[in-house]
């Protein structure tokens, strides 16, 4: 029997995804410690924006009552530079789990990787900013051209759905991806499946936005969904993995659903109050589509051979899989040379703490195997 292995885990971010992840980490940790080739996962650092808890002696922190332990912590909140030093000098390999959406933390990933620290994250920022940042990141990573830690980010697109792994498999085995098209936002999916369900009905657009916000399907300020940037970031990641050098999520056409007249509005509440003034435009779109037997959906698409990426409203026949989507599900259609006229389709919940955390946990398992 080889000696049991230990891997150190640092988790930053304890919001919806972070909480679900810590629950999953606890079960995974128990399971791996009891397997025939045991691996001991030791949580040694836990942080959120205003609090941090870390083990000075690298002894594991408690996973069962992390919430109270973190609240009670009087340790300083370490800057990224010091977290890197702390993890790089750990007596065993370390993995950073970034469950935040922090642009600042994301900017430091290459330094983590260079020090041999692996990264698993649902945070889109590092993968959807400038192309130079993307190149730097994968130049440092062991799963890029570098010799540092590994970086996995399945949950940056479609949450726990196997979207990026499938695209990588297609590309790596030599298939030619010709087009990727789908609904990449749980919020937009819910909004348009309610606004214009197949078979008729649905409220006005402003009313549906209000309802979606009340049900917790939107960001605190719904404009952060309606501006299309979240979808544009996801498309940037998919396009880059397909081989396109997309400069940034604002370097291709992205349709914002925020009326031009409301762009200057101060608060999200004021925005919601004034949105009904523009319902007529959305009603016209709806009526035009209905006349052709179609429905309107907010989609993203990538034409790989042409190098074209776009995000916005499009109409689909009611029999199209994109039209038939339910609830807040995502759907991703991969059209490739091998798959021919019928695409390879991945569909299911693309948002929510548990399924997003599942993508993170599954990536962590992949990293553990590679750290072998």
């Amino acid at each position: 029997m080889p000696a049991p292995r230990q891997v150190f885990i640092a988790v930053i971010g304890v919001g919806g995804v972070g909480k679900s992840f810590l629950t999953q980490l606890q079960s995974l940790s128990t399971r791996l410690s009891q397997s025939t080739s045991p691996i001991y996962l030791s949580l040694i650092l836990l942080g959120r924006s205003s609090k941090m808890l870390f083990s000075e002696s690298y002894r594991p922190l408690p996973l069962s009552n992390w919430e109270s332990a973190l609240s009670a912590s009087t340790q300083p909140v370490l800057p990224a530079r010091e977290i890197i030093d702390y993890l790089a000098t750990a007596p065993e390999k370390a993995v950073l789990i970034d469950n935040t959406s922090s642009e600042e933390l994301a900017a430091t990933y290459p330094q983590f990787l260079q020090k041999g620290i692996s990264i698993v994250t649902p945070n889109k920022k590092a993968f959807s900013s400038s192309y130079a940042a993307w190149s730097d990141l994968f130049s440092a990573a062991a799963n890029g051209t570098g010799r540092g830690g590994y970086v996995f980010h399945e949950s940056t697109v479609g949450a726990g759905l196997p979207v990026l792994s499938t695209l990588k498999d297609l590309v790596e085995t030599g298939d030619e991806v010709t087009k990727i098209e789908g609904v990449f936002s749980g919020t937009m999916s819910f909004l348009f499946n309610s606004f214009m369900p197949v078979g008729g009905g649905g409220g006005t657009f402003a009313a549906e936005v209000k309802k979606a916000k009340e049900l917790g399907y939107t960001e605190p300020d719904p404009r952060d969904d309606l501006n299309g940037l979240d979808v544009a970031r996801k498309l940037t990641i998919l396009a880059r993995l397909s081989g396109l050098k997309v400069e940034s999520p604002t370097s291709f056409p992205v349709q914002s659903l925020i009326p031009k007249e409301l762009e200057g509005v101060g608060s999200g509440d004021e925005f919601l109050q004034r949105l009904p003034e523009f319902d007529e435009r959305m009603d016209k779109l709806k009526a035009d589509a209905a006349k052709q037997g179609k429905v309107v959906r907010f989609v993203g698409s990538i034409d790989v051979p042409k190098g074209e990426v776009k995000v916005g409203l499009e109409s689909f026949d009611t029999s199209h899989p994109i039209a038939a989507l339910k609830g807040s599900d995502n759907i991703i259609n991969f059209y490739t040379k091998r798959y021919g006229s019928n695409p390879l389709i991945i569909q299911g919940a693309g948002a929510g703490g548990d399924v997003t955390a599942m993508g993170v946990t599954s990536d962590l398992i992949k990293v553990l195997r590679l750290l072998g």
Copy 2:
């Protein structure tokens, strides 16, 4: 820079999948040899039932003109025992790619694994025979409880679609799979999408079977599809990966579409000639479903908590994703605790040389990473 790595590859089976795989292997081999951490894939053994070609000095065989080289070979066809010796004494790690559907070769997998030889295969036999054989296999494998080679078999279900990897991710991250349901046979998909398309139409059942055979969608003897065993084998694999101890593919209800009266018929041709005598039964099923606004499909399902597996005809609302399937596509719905009422869906071509070989190539890449 670490020294470049070499991995030895043995390929048995050069039919539709085997041919496509060898083409993909050639591109992969070129790509990996040119990467920043080069890996040299050396094909050292190539075989089909009546011919074998191997390199006595472990120098790579030519990948570009393998077909003529294999035909010209005067080397003996080695039995599995000797192939194992040959690969186990190779100066570097070896991977066996079994592109046959041989039960005999499959029975020897544990011996390959015990000698540290990894296996990648679309051959269902080893994974869908007795539960004891399944246990023996994974007891020997490095990705089971053993210390031998790795075994990957993504293409045994849904060809290149990410079905098994997704199920493993769900299980390993601690989700509870409650039900798996879908169309798992390209032949059955084509047959029922033609026999009873959504919206009406379609020929008699016997005529559609004949057409499917003429178009190359069935096995040479269509009874090998219609008996349901192929789907039962796939369900056996999925159920076992879900944690059920399914004894064999004949240990649960499997509906055969071969009329009882024709079970004793000698040849496939005679069977096809007599099948129209039983069209009335299938017409009745079709009419009964249509009355309820449904269509008939040949599906497999696993109720995990109840431990129930079954394969056979069921009716679905025309709006159900299973009803809306096109061509010879497969669809697999995973219902889980985390995904809630809307399943995680994987859909696309589930048969064909190129997509099946893609699953094999993608598994080979995974093994290469793990051999690190």
